[in-house]
């Protein structure tokens, strides 16, 4: 194809584009989303030698601009309104949001027809030298865009533009866009809540540390002696942590409660508890030379200190969760709701969406004849600590732990877990998360059941949060996620 034929084809495609837009924009501006993606972005990228992307995908839709190229610092506003008011409003917003710090150039692509002229004085006053703008050059419509293409010398480039345009305006492509538009038009108008599974933590500001002052020899002998009697695993190496545990337990008789929110490193004990406080049991295990360090300074020292900090935070959370009856199960690396001395079903009260509600946390599973309990299903969760943008977060993933008697892991745990996970969909996992997240967090005081926290430092777990998100899914428009089958009664068996 020679240059003239190519240009004629481009002109025809642009005319079809304009016609399609005119029909489509009768519905709403949201149509731009699809047309921009398929037609305008590739076209403008080719003509302007840029790499635009759709700014409307940003969570908070970028104000005043639709298509952006951060690298080349260029932005486009795509609109079907050609009035000076629209131009001025956009520029005003652009300046208000200091978009000129990100973009040197702002173009308007008028999908209909631009005005014959725009009052440049009023625009210049608005712009106030923040960036350069020439209405003739920076406001484009189909006709001026075509003129710009006509000026391109490189025939290969014109060929690419022609190919890209003609392929977008086949009957099939136009039909496809119509189909997709129906989905996006509806979805973009709404938003829905999306919850994060991580809770923000306010960490204690100070870490106390001091050299250990314990009778290692004596403690070792006691542990070995007990292990010899068959209490505990014989072959296990005695760690520094074992020694400190033994030392704390030796004070039990004085009415002190065992605590686990500390770590040992290089013969030093680190904790958020005030080691200078004589009433603090841990103070009895260290020398009088107690030192303090700012928590932030501690973990920012290096990767090694960060690991120690994460470890301390994890042990402190274990202490906190234990108070809320979620016990740490080392073998399964998870927290599960603790059974009482006599294992049985447990329901606890909590506040769900400002209403008092009951939540089952331990379920019994009986045999067919209801003669005996086969196993217990405990609500459980795994955690990971994360630090981003200077803040600490606790990520929580709900799961289940299966025991034969409330304590011992059931032999069929894995099968039960696979079975139940096959039946659970997003809603039920979210419900588990929301319960656990609310139950563990401190900021909402409605939950008075667990307000008797005893840790003498301020480690605050904040409530679950959400963000608004679109597009939305209308679940009822889709087929149910799972068909109810006759063998799907497993969940009920547990109730």
């Amino acid at each position: 194809m020679n240059r003239n034929i190519l240009l004629t084809s481009i002109q025809q495609s642009l005319a079809r584009f304009k016609a399609e837009i005119e029909i489509a924009t009768a519905n709403s501006e949201y149509n731009l989303h699809l047309h921009s993606e398929n037609v305008l972005i590739p076209l403008l990228n080719e003509v302007f030698d840029v790499n635009l992307l759709n700014g409307n995908y940003e969570e908070k839709n970028l104000s005043a601009v639709d298509l952006v190229d951060y690298k080349n610092r260029i932005a486009f506003q795509v609109t079907s309104t050609s009035s000076i008011t629209k131009i001025k409003n956009t520029i005003q917003q652009f300046i208000k949001d200091k978009r000129y710090e990100q973009f040197d150039m702002l173009y308007f692509f008028i999908l209909t027809e631009k005005q014959n002229s725009y009052n440049s004085d009023s625009i210049d006053t608005l712009i106030n030298s923040h960036f350069s703008f020439d209405a003739d050059e920076h406001i484009i419509d189909n006709i001026s865009f075509y003129k710009r293409i006509q000026k391109i010398n490189n025939v290969e480039k014109i060929r690419r533009i022609e190919k890209s345009l003609s392929s977008e305006f086949t009957d099939e492509k136009i039909d496809q866009r119509k189909e997709q538009l129906q989905y996006f038009d509806i979805q973009k108008l709404q938003s829905e809540k999306v919850y994060f599974n991580f809770l923000e933590l306010s960490i204690p500001s100070t870490i106390y540390y001091s050299d250990l002052d314990i009778d290692t020899k004596l403690l070792k002998a006691r542990i070995t002696n007990r292990r010899k009697k068959g209490l505990g695993r014989k072959s296990r190496h005695i760690s520094d942590r074992d020694l400190v545990k033994e030392a704390i337990n030796s004070y039990d008789k004085d009415g002190n409660k065992y605590c686990q929110d500390w770590i040992v490193s290089e013969n030093k004990l680190f904790t958020f508890r005030n080691l200078g406080d004589d009433t603090e049991i841990l103070s009895k295990l260290v020398t009088n030379q107690v030192e303090e360090i700012d928590s932030n300074e501690f973990y920012e020292l290096n990767e090694d200190y960060k690991k120690r900090f994460v470890s301390l935070l994890n042990f402190s959370l274990r202490e906190r969760f234990a108070e809320k009856k979620f016990e740490w199960v080392e073998k399964e690396e998870l927290y599960r709701y603790k059974a009482g001395k006599l294992a049985k079903s447990v329901k606890i009260e909590w506040t769900k969406d400002k209403k008092k509600s009951e939540r089952q946390v331990i379920y019994e599973r009986w045999d067919k004849d209801k003669n005996h309990i086969i196993c217990f299903r405990h609500l459980a969760f795994t955690t990971s600590l994360r630090n981003f943008e200077g803040k600490w977060y606790l990520a929580i993933r709900p799961t289940w732990s299966f025991t034969s008697d409330g304590y011992k892991r059931s032999r069929f745990s894995e099968d039960y877990l696979t079975g139940i996970k096959r039946l659970e969909a997003n809603k039920s996992v979210f419900s588990d998360f929301k319960f656990i997240g609310t139950h563990l967090s401190e900021t909402k005081n409605e939950n008075t059941l667990f307000s008797t926290l005893t840790t003498p430092y301020s480690l605050i777990i904040h409530s679950p949060v959400f963000a608004k998100f679109n597009p939305v899914i209308n679940d009822e428009d889709w087929k149910p996620i799972r068909e109810k089958k006759s063998d799907d009664n497993q969940l009920e068996v547990w109730e």
Partner: protein
């Protein structure tokens, strides 16, 4: 921290067509290379297998020339997830046809299989013997007939016997009941045993890609994929293995290459691991290379390359890429790895890509499969595939599995597990890097259902490693991915 939605990436098909679904894309627009001078208009296939299995598969291949209808119930529920297969013929869809005749067919006697099963109780020996049976025929066909692809048909009853140690005193029905039916299972032996990997590894020397097909695909049971999905997947793989390009990523304005670095353990599961790299462009054309061995340290179980190993593997990969693909070096290179990058690796990769090969922009990206982060909607369907959570400039979470508007469903069980993306060095905008990762999940020609979890860079590294571990250093290895998938 904020959320955004990445719309389902479009793929590029023939005649300039773009669409989000590979199947409908091929059906509407033909494969990407339809207008290219060289493409597999006719695919000569060789077929090897037990006599009755081969006949069954031949009939199936013939039937697939015409439309293969998806099960009515599944299609009524999710029409776009279960489209009919368009038929593999020269008049529509792939616009290509299979060619085979008796001279391209090698039948193995039942008694040959029976003899091996009887004589070799040891799994490793049995796998080796069965593989040798196929290999002798692969050698013959490749030397005398030069087919484009060789289909190795595996009788269903043989599959459990190639999987793990079994008690042969039990009768065969019990054996079938007892065993897992996956060929991918590693078994319990000291050395890993995998028939598929062994056959692919040892057949590489004959320069013809192979396609292993289990004869049960001709009559799929309820728990298997449906007949039309099986046809879509197998014919797409055959077209790709015959050097066709079924679809491509939508090209960016720059020449971009994607590379994946992986590590694989030796079959005896020793503490050393070998590195492997592949590098390819938007069309999926590229090369695969084996790198140096790395030793796993006690205090850090993550394999890391030394600076010189990182330099060497990327330098070799880029050099081979240039020779094989015949283009100038990429303007931008994106490197994916499943573990974090340490300083030595960053220095090595930078030196090779930027200093030696003049790559303009380099992105070093870790793709972590085990993110503790989850997002929840309040309803039954999970969040959308394409949900992108920016945790910070360098840390991102991307849902590559999730609810898919095009299919109007979520195709997984339980809740989707997103991948976590860490940028250790990046020249490109993080959003674009995430967009590309989502697009790369669709570049797997073994599967036409597009909501895959991992980008092909990582999947490829894994598949290649699984096969390379069955090769000796002296065995000739192929550079093309079609020999590993």
């Amino acid at each position: 921290m904020n959320l955004r939605y990445i719309k389902e990436p479009l793929l590029e098909f023939g005649r300039g067509g773009r669409f989000e679904c590979p199947r409908q894309g091929i059906y509407n627009f033909a494969p990407y290379d339809i207008d290219k001078q060289v493409r597999p208009e006719k695919i000569n296939v060789g077929i090897i297998g037990r006599s009755d299995s081969v006949d069954e598969v031949l009939d199936w291949l013939k039937n697939c020339r015409d439309k293969v209808v998806a099960p009515v119930q599944r299609q009524a529920k999710h029409p776009k997830l279960y489209p009919n297969f368009c038929g593999f013929n020269k008049d529509n869809g792939f616009y290509s046809e299979l060619a085979f005749d008796e001279t391209y067919t090698k039948k193995i006697n039942n008694s040959d299989f029976d003899k091996i099963i009887k004589e070799y109780n040891n799994l490793e020996d049995r796998i080796t013997e069965v593989a040798d049976l196929y290999l002798s025929h692969i050698k013959f066909l490749s030397k005398n007939k030069r087919p484009d692809v060789i289909i190795c048909v595996l009788p269903e009853k043989l599959v459990p016997l190639l999987n793990q140690q079994v008690d042969l005193k039990k009768d065969s029905e019990d054996i079938l009941d007892d065993l897992q039916d996956s060929l991918e299972d590693e078994g319990n032996s000291e050395r890993e045993q995998n028939f598929r990997s062994l056959l692919k590894a040892k057949s590489m020397q004959y320069n013809v890609p192979i396609q292993i097909i289990r004869d049960r695909i001709t009559k799929p049971s309820g728990e298997m994929q449906d007949p039309s999905t099986i046809a879509w997947n197998i014919f797409t793989a055959l077209y790709y293995k015959a050097s066709g390009i079924p679809w491509a990523m939508v090209k960016s304005s720059n020449i971009v290459c994607y590379a994946g670095i992986g590590f694989y353990k030796s079959r005896d599961r020793q503490t050393t691991q070998t590195s492997v790299a592949q590098i390819f462009n938007e069309l999926g054309k590229g090369v695969i290379l084996r790198g140096g061995e790395v030793t796993i340290k006690r205090n850090d179980r993550t394999p890391h390359l030394t600076e010189s190993q990182a330099y060497e593997i990327l330098d070799n990969a880029l050099t081979e890429y240039k020779e094989a693909i015949g283009t100038i070096p990429p303007q931008r290179l994106v490197l994916h790895k499943t573990s974090n990058f340490n300083d030595a690796e960053i220095a090595g990769f930078e030196a090779a890509a930027i200093n030696k090969h003049g790559v303009g922009a380099l992105d070093l990206v870790t793709i972590n499969e085990r993110s503790g982060i989850r997002l929840f909607r309040e309803n039954d369907y999970p969040v959308l595939r394409g949900t992108h959570l920016r945790l910070s400039k360098e840390n991102h979470v991307l849902y590559t599995r999730g609810s898919v508007p095009f299919y109007e469903t979520y195709t997984g069980q339980y809740i989707p597990n997103p991948i976590e993306i860490r940028l250790f060095r990046h020249d490109e905008n993080p959003d674009i890097i995430c967009d590309e990762i989502l697009a790369l999940t669709k570049m797997n020609w073994n599967n036409t259902q597009f909501d895959r979890r991992l980008p092909i860079t990582i999947e490829c590294a894994r598949n290649v490693g699984a096969i390379l571990k069955y090769m000796n250093d002296s065995d000739p290895m192929q550079l093309k991915y079609s020999f590993y998938m």
